[in-house]
């Protein structure tokens, strides 16, 4: 599988993402936001960062970068696409994932480790994950409060499109373990076609034993092994 990581002005997790993918023996290339050629990449990633300085709304301007037409076309044809943090914000702005990401309820930028509980293993991203485990993954965002109207939320729940919810270290989904006021503790979702994923936490930042946490690597590793099986 060839990964393409889109670089917008202000992206800052592109190198981390490529680093992890290469460490897992994958081919990963950077795609400049002004390009319109996906260079044969079959799994696209929109990385974290602060594209266009988060001006207007996070992800709102990146959504109209020249490469986005190709990204949308790729996803519409069933191609895999994942947005992490700012990348997730770009995907909701582009309408590729439902809902929006609002300013955190406590108004602050939050940078800390949180715990994630897998809600559905019916997706390439979560296929091999342990649904009873609390995965420790860092978050770093000011606009991560997931919100969707009632009808959209119902659809997400009915179709098992919620992939991750914030939980505590014992894998209990509680109000106290919700870091940003997200609706129903939602931390990550997929689209109805299950080929577009978005999550606020950063698995690529928890993928090196030197940083004493490799829970993120577990998530990314199983992503690759499930693709091999698929």
């Amino acid at each position: 599988m060839k990964f393409g990581v889109v670089v917008f002005p202000g992206s800052n997790c592109d190198d981390d993402t490529i680093g992890v993918l290469e460490a897992m023996g994958q081919e990963a290339i950077k795609l400049w936001h002004k390009d319109t050629d996906l260079q044969g990449a079959d799994f696209l990633i929109l990385p974290g960062g602060f594209s266009y300085g988060d001006y207007l709304r996070s992800g709102a301007i990146a959504r109209f970068s020249p490469i986005m037409d190709k990204v949308i076309e790729h996803a519409s044809n069933g191609g895999y696409l994942m947005g992490i943090c700012n990348g997730f914000q770009v995907l909701v702005e582009a309408g590729l994932l439902p809902g929006v990401l609002l300013r955190n309820d406590k108004q602050k930028f939050i940078s800390k480790n949180i715990y994630l509980k897998t809600q559905s293993t019916n997706s390439l991203l979560t296929n091999g994950l342990d649904t009873e485990k609390a995965y420790k993954i860092p978050i770093a965002h000011a606009e991560g409060r997931y919100f969707a109207d009632e009808a959209t939320l119902k659809q997400l729940n009915d179709n098992n499109q919620v992939l991750f919810r914030y939980c505590d270290e014992n894998a209990e989904i509680t109000e106290a373990s919700n870091p940003n006021g997200s609706l129903e503790n939602i931390a990550g979702i997929c689209n109805a076609g299950r080929n577009v994923f978005g999550l606020m936490p950063h698995p690529e930042r928890a993928a090196d034993p030197l940083l004493s946490n490799t829970d993120g690597l577990e998530i990314l590793k199983q992503l690759i092994s499930s693709e091999v099986l698929a």
């Binding site: 207007l56 301007i61 109209f64 702005e93 929006v100 955190n104 919100f147 006021g181």
Partner: protein, 83 residues
């Protein structure tokens, strides 16, 4: 003809606006207790070249819907005037 648009983008009423809530608290701390329902949005001005008032308003409407506001969480209003 040149027109100026004055655009207001506000968070939807049913959505919690933590910024407005914090500012309300600040106003109360200042002793201005009579204020309530503080909500904070954006004011955007822009110039638009168009053949008529109606054409200018159409352009601004598209700009608001496509980029300036996210209608899932915000609502917008604007006034367009010829200059």
């Amino acid at each position: 003809m040149k027109f100026v648009a004055e655009i207001n983008v506000m968070p939807q009423k049913e959505i919690l606006d933590p910024q407005g809530k914090a500012v309300k608290l600040g106003l109360h701390n200042l002793g201005i207790d009579s204020v309530d329902n503080v909500r904070i949005g954006k004011h955007i001005t822009l110039e638009v070249e168009a053949e008529s008032q109606k054409a200018a308003e159409e352009q601004v409407e598209i700009a608001c819907k496509k980029l300036l506001a996210n209608i899932i969480m915000e609502e917008f209003s604007f006034v367009v005037t010829a200059v």
